[in-house]
């Protein structure tokens, strides 16, 4: 973890109303997929909390960021960046068929996984009912309703789900009360993280088989098998 300065160079509105922000920053500051940076406008003294931002696409000299909350930043905004924070996705090297599930409001936090696999001849299918932004050509898209019947296909699942929708995964995956995933899976839990790990305040607590864990610090990506859901 380190402390960096970045600069917003461009903003874009993706399909579905999601703003993405192009940030120029040192390479060490760029979070891995699923990790986050705590970002704040260097000159704005009116902001109440820092904003967790996730990577949606790596670019030369920086990355496209997907903020957890809407932000008022524009091109030229100077940012204080702290991180990378938390634990991101850790895909097995031998993944051949990656299934991705986006049940929240956006897809962009899963996008860097798609691009990282694009030249490895890995099959990638995204299950979602959200509007589809620009995606690598290798990605197939299917509605969420098809997930249950397609679970014999992926050898790994990457999921982006809001904490308060975690229980709905049971229905999507077609599992009963035992709530076991049909294949290895990691879940990016999206939830407000007001202290970003500074206080262990508990606002982002997630119930796991080893007790309560914090999305800000122990996540936000968890092994699905470790969660009580």
């Amino acid at each position: 973890m380190g402390y960096y300065t970045g600069r917003v160079s461009e903003i874009r509105l993706e399909v579905g109303g999601q703003w993405e922000i192009r940030i120029l920053c040192p390479g060490e500051a760029i979070p891995a997929p699923g990790q986050y940076l705590l970002a704040s406008d260097s000159t704005d003294r009116t902001a109440i909390l820092g904003t967790p931002i996730f990577i949606s696409e790596e670019i030369s000299q920086g990355f496209w960021a997907s903020p957890l909350f809407p932000v008022p930043w524009g091109p030229g905004t100077s940012l204080d960046l702290e991180g990378p924070l938390g634990h991101g996705f850790n895909l097995p090297r031998n993944t051949q068929r990656l299934g991705m599930v986006a049940t929240g409001e956006i897809i962009s936090r899963l996008k860097p996984l798609m691009t990282s696999l694009a030249d490895r001849q890995t099959g990638v299918t995204l299950f979602t009912d959200l509007k589809i932004p620009r995606l690598p050509e290798v990605v197939e898209v299917s509605p969420l309703a098809t997930l249950k019947t397609a679970l014999d296909w992926p050898d790994f699942l990457a999921v982006d789900v809001p904490l308060n929708h975690l229980g709905e995964l049971r229905g999507l995956l077609g599992v009963g009360n035992e709530a076991r995933s049909p294949c290895p899976a990691q879940v990016l839990i999206t939830t407000p993280m007001p202290c970003s790990g500074m206080a262990r305040c508990g606002a982002c607590a997630v119930n796991t088989r080893k007790g309560w864990r914090l999305a800000c610090e122990d996540g936000p990506v968890f092994e699905l098998s470790s969660l009580l859901w």
Binding site: S40, R45, I48, L49, P194, M198, A199, R200, A203, W212
Partner: protein, 257 residues
């Protein structure tokens, strides 16, 4: 440290729940800008996080309902006592004051612990004056005691705490309710600049009553700290200001006596 010494210099510290259990979590922080470190709230037994809506934002602030999760005093002491002893910042341990007997037991465990400067007792919003007196007496011993009162009831309860032996009164965030979705109401503590006016009013009124006051609530600028001290507060606690990003203590808190 002399018994019952409660000098905080510089007169600025974090509020309970804002920076964890020990002053080591974010290495870049310049701790010399704080006069003491206040731990997260600690109970005798472990507490799990609250269920339901834990966070909701509104213009000027946000609501937080966490249940003050903590691993219990025994585990906290096991994990952090050596860090407290090594800390250049004196540590004030915040204890959740559910009942006098438990509080007394917890306080005794902290006496003679190196690095611990005092205890701050968090009093629940439902407590009456009799309970405040009972808790204050239970916590009183070798360490100075700060009683943290609900901001809305601080004026009503402060004199009881001081007469029972508290060295100072600090102010807990006010509580509020917000609709978070249709039919769903969140209740919790309120943070953010919108709290500042009520915090300044409460601190000023406490000072006028002659109560040694540690002002807190809605502090988001150096000027806010100065305003609180100008009212006569003996010290100031800052909370969610510290969560704004890497620079809150380092860049924005410039202590000038």
């Amino acid at each position: 440290m002399a018994k019952h010494d409660l000098s905080i210099n510089p007169p600025v510290m974090n509020a309970a729940g804002s920076l964890g259990f020990s002053p080591e979590r974010r290495a870049r922080t310049d701790w010399s800008k704080l006069g003491a470190f206040v731990t997260n709230p600690i109970s005798l037994l472990p507490r799990t996080p609250a269920h339901g809506e834990r966070f909701a934002s509104y213009p000027g602030g946000f609501l937080l309902h966490t249940g003050y999760p903590n691993p219990g005093l025994r585990q906290v002491v096991r994990r952090y006592a050596q860090i407290w002893a090594r800390s250049r910042l004196p540590v004030i341990v915040h204890l959740l004051g559910n009942d006098a007997e438990t509080l007394s037991e917890m306080t005794r465990q902290l006496e003679n612990m190196e690095g611990v400067m005092g205890v701050e007792v968090g009093v629940s919003g439902e407590a009456d004056a009799e309970t405040v007196v009972s808790l204050t007496r239970a916590a009183s011993g070798e360490l100075p005691v700060i009683i943290r009162l609900p901001m809305e009831r601080a004026l009503e309860l402060a004199s009881s705490a001081i007469q029972a032996g508290a060295m100072a009164i600090s102010m807990a965030p006010p509580r509020g309710s917000l609709f978070v979705s249709v039919g769903a109401m969140a209740q919790g503590r309120l943070y953010g600049p919108a709290v500042l006016p009520i915090a300044l009013k409460t601190a000023g009124d406490l000072v006028k009553q002659g109560v040694p006051t540690i002002g807190a609530g809605g502090i988001y600028a150096q000027e806010d700290i100065k305003a609180m001290l100008d009212l006569g507060a003996m010290a100031v606690q800052v909370d969610s200001w510290l969560w704004r990003g890497s620079g809150a203590i380092d860049k924005e808190l410039v202590w000038k006596p």
